[in-house]
Amino acid sequence: MTITAPPTLDAGTRPRGKNDERPPAVRPKPEGGGRGDSQDWGAGGTFTPSRIPAAFAAAKAAGRTALIPFVTAGYPSLAATEATIPALVRGGADVIEIGVPFSDPLADGATIQRASQAALANGVTLTDCIALVRRLRAHRGLTAALILFGYYNPILQYGPARFVADAAAAGADGFIVPDLPTEESGELLAACRAHGRDLIFLLAPTSTDARIADVAERASGFVYCVSLTGVTGGRQELPDLAAYLGRVRQRTDLPLAVGFGISTEAHVRQVGALAEGAVVGSALIAHLDGVPVADQPAAAEAFMRALGGEGGPNDGPDTAGVTP
């Protein structure tokens, strides 16, 4: 099944869940493009709409799986993260997840735990992460979609509404909060809708059809499908995703991105046969761990090219055994 645009696109709206009742807190312009429209929303708001739908649309138009790398902000340093992110984009990244460090990352495996602890030891705060986004936009001219990925407590202490406002003003397009299921998402979701940002919900292989429908009602941007029951971290093999992703696909028109365990170009192709995006976190961080800090941007760029099938060990037909 392919993604189809909603049959009647309101001007300036983005893809939505089947039962989305997003209140148009910021009114879009009365005319303009459909998904992927990058114009400002006009008189009702001064900010650019989320870049996430356009990123998926562009990848789809180019016949590619959207690549979504994850890096922990401030690991090994904020300066290194700021230099690495543009390199990821040069290497083919479509959407960047910027991990906000947290003391108790209970959905993360050893690699991201370690990166998170090191970033905290560097004194990195949520405010620093927002400032990082601002610098990437203002100083580095980055136009790729940026997502802040962080646990809820730092957001709660910052104030969910203030957080979304500040992050949106800095240039963040969306948020992923792994310990915020639909049941607890009300306050943050309202703030995201008010500021035209995407709150990306996670689904898991254990999610019931009813829970998938709950996510579809609230989601925008894309739906993050956790590949397996477990924490983040590279894996040798991915489980069979067809039945699970099929259940999700039946209930939403949004793009699907698969994450957790994706480590290789073959994994990206396996995922790409069924979904529109692939998230790569721990494997990237582990790869960069073996490289001197000064060389990390170049290594990050090469890693992304290899994941995308350009010049990597799997560049060529039939190595993954799946039909793209």
Binding site: F102, S103, D104, P105, L106, A107, G109, Q113, Q117, L120, T125, L126, T127, Y152, N153, P154, I155, L156, Q157, Y158, P178, D179, L180, P181, E183, E184, F201, L202, L203, A204, P205, T206, S207, T208, R211, V226, T229, G230, V231
Partner: protein
């Protein structure tokens, strides 16, 4: 003891408690801040619990084991010598130290173990701080023939070595946790990560009234037998309710269990005693309700020790069981509503309470419980002889001998 004082454990499990609400909330506290992977399992657990509550077979099995295996009801003991030391109000001790495995933790482990068995889960995981919950869970798993894995911080493994040996003897695997502060908080993170990974086959036995809904409710209900018994025993032995109930609070399960049946008795003062460690001003303490702010940890919204950026801070207490930067959401609710109040007792004060109980009554308490004893001594001294203070003596102190010997310079 009169037979009518015996309160079957199953009768303390309420069929329709007013709180938490349908969203697992106690006012603004509680909830389900869990990874999506666990959400269906939490719903399944709640449904299984509701089903078990209505099943006479489940209720009679829990009653039989509570009586014949755990040794319920535990005695209510008038600590006359300790009371004389305070020269004020009468101090009564609810003797959970005499329950099988030496602490109240067995009540909850038994209830959840039977639930795991009922749900067909053959593998059980638990986190432990002092090791008492780990021992209780390992015990119940041995009894019911379940595989048991216990996560325990490396710091706690070092200071509670006897309990590590106990768990191993009982057939459990003890997995050391080296991340973060290497105490209960990090053991809980690791247990949650295991559960996320093995959720289909595994039952997570949480040891306190913390975590995501329905755990705070579940653990409270299984621990409420202490308060129900104590309330009935007070009325039977003394013809009156106590004036105050005092219990230590780490996560808060022994306090919640003894407070809960007294919530409607508005004249009964409820006092939770947190670990003030080296003193609240030192920053090295575990007094979450006294000195924390509202946040989210381990799946629920509650008071939390955290920095300005929302990073969870390391707690400190001489007692491993209180060394936790969070607290059960229902305690946060009781604090906010004013129904209970929470105070701090320092490491040194707890050691004084520990020694006072040893010398005056011949009872060696757990260091956790010694916090409650210390506060009760202070409170009793301020109150007239006509008043009664009920203390939950939640555990015995064998596990703490090494720590206490070191702190008091009592070399062998």
């Amino acid at each position: 003891m009169a037979l009518d004082v015996l309160v079957p454990m199953s009768e303390t499990i309420p069929l329709a408690p007013p709180l938490p609400d349908a969203h697992g909330r106690f006012g603004q506290f509680g909830g389900k801040y869990a990874p999506e992977t666990l959400m269906p399992a939490l719903d399944e657990l709640e449904a299984a619990y509701r089903d078990a509550q209505g099943d006479p077979a489940f209720r009679s099995e829990i009653d039989r084991l509570a009586r014949d295996y755990v040794g319920r009801p535990t005695p209510l003991y008038h600590a006359a010598n300790l009371s004389a030391k305070a020269a004020g109000a009468r101090i009564l001790l609810k003797r959970e130290d005499l329950a099988h495995t030496g602490a109240h933790k067995i009540n909850n482990a038994l209830g959840q173990g039977l639930l795991a068995q009922r749900m067909g889960k053959r593998r059980v995981i638990a986190e432990t701080g002092a090791g008492q919950h780990g021992v209780a869970t390992a015990t119940v798993c041995a009894l019911l023939g379940l595989e048991c894995v216990v996560y325990m911080g490396e710091v706690d493994i070092a200071r509670q070595a006897p309990n590590v040996v106990r768990m191993k003897l009982l057939g459990a695997e003890v997995r050391p946790v080296a991340s973060g502060s290497r105490t209960l908080k990090d053991a809980t993170n690791e247990a949650i990560r295991d559960w996320v990974t093995n959720v289909e086959s595994t039952f997570y036995v949480i040891g306190s009234v913390v975590g995501m809904h329905p755990y705070p409710m579940l653990v409270r209900d299984f621990q409420a037998v202490m308060g129900d018994e104590a309330r009935a025993q007070c009325l039977d032995h003394y013809g009156a309710l106590p004036d105050a109930v005092v219990a230590c609070v780490g996560g808060g399960s022994n306090a919640m269990g003894i407070f809960y049946p007294f919530l409607g008795d508005e004249a009964v003062e409820l006092i939770g005693v947190e670990a003030a460690g080296h003193g609240i001003g030192s920053g090295q303490h575990s007094a979450t309700l006294v000195a924390g702010r509202v946040g989210v940890l381990h799946g629920s919204r509650s008071y939390l020790l955290q920095d300005a950026d929302g990073q969870v801070q390391e707690a400190h207490s001489i007692s491993a069981g209180l060394d936790y930067p969070g607290v059960g959401p229902e305690h946060s609710y009781l604090k906010e509503s004013g129904r209970a109040r929470y105070v701090g007792i320092t490491d040194d004060e707890a050691l004084d309470g520990f020694q006072a109980l040893c010398r005056s009554e011949g009872i060696i308490p757990a260091l956790e419980s010694a916090h409650a004893v210390a506060y009760a001594l202070r409170l009793a001294a301020e109150r007239p002889a006509a008043q009664t203070i009920l203390v939950n003596l939640s555990g015995r102190g064998d596990k703490d001998l090494q720590t206490v010997a070191g702190a008091l310079g009592l070399g062998a």
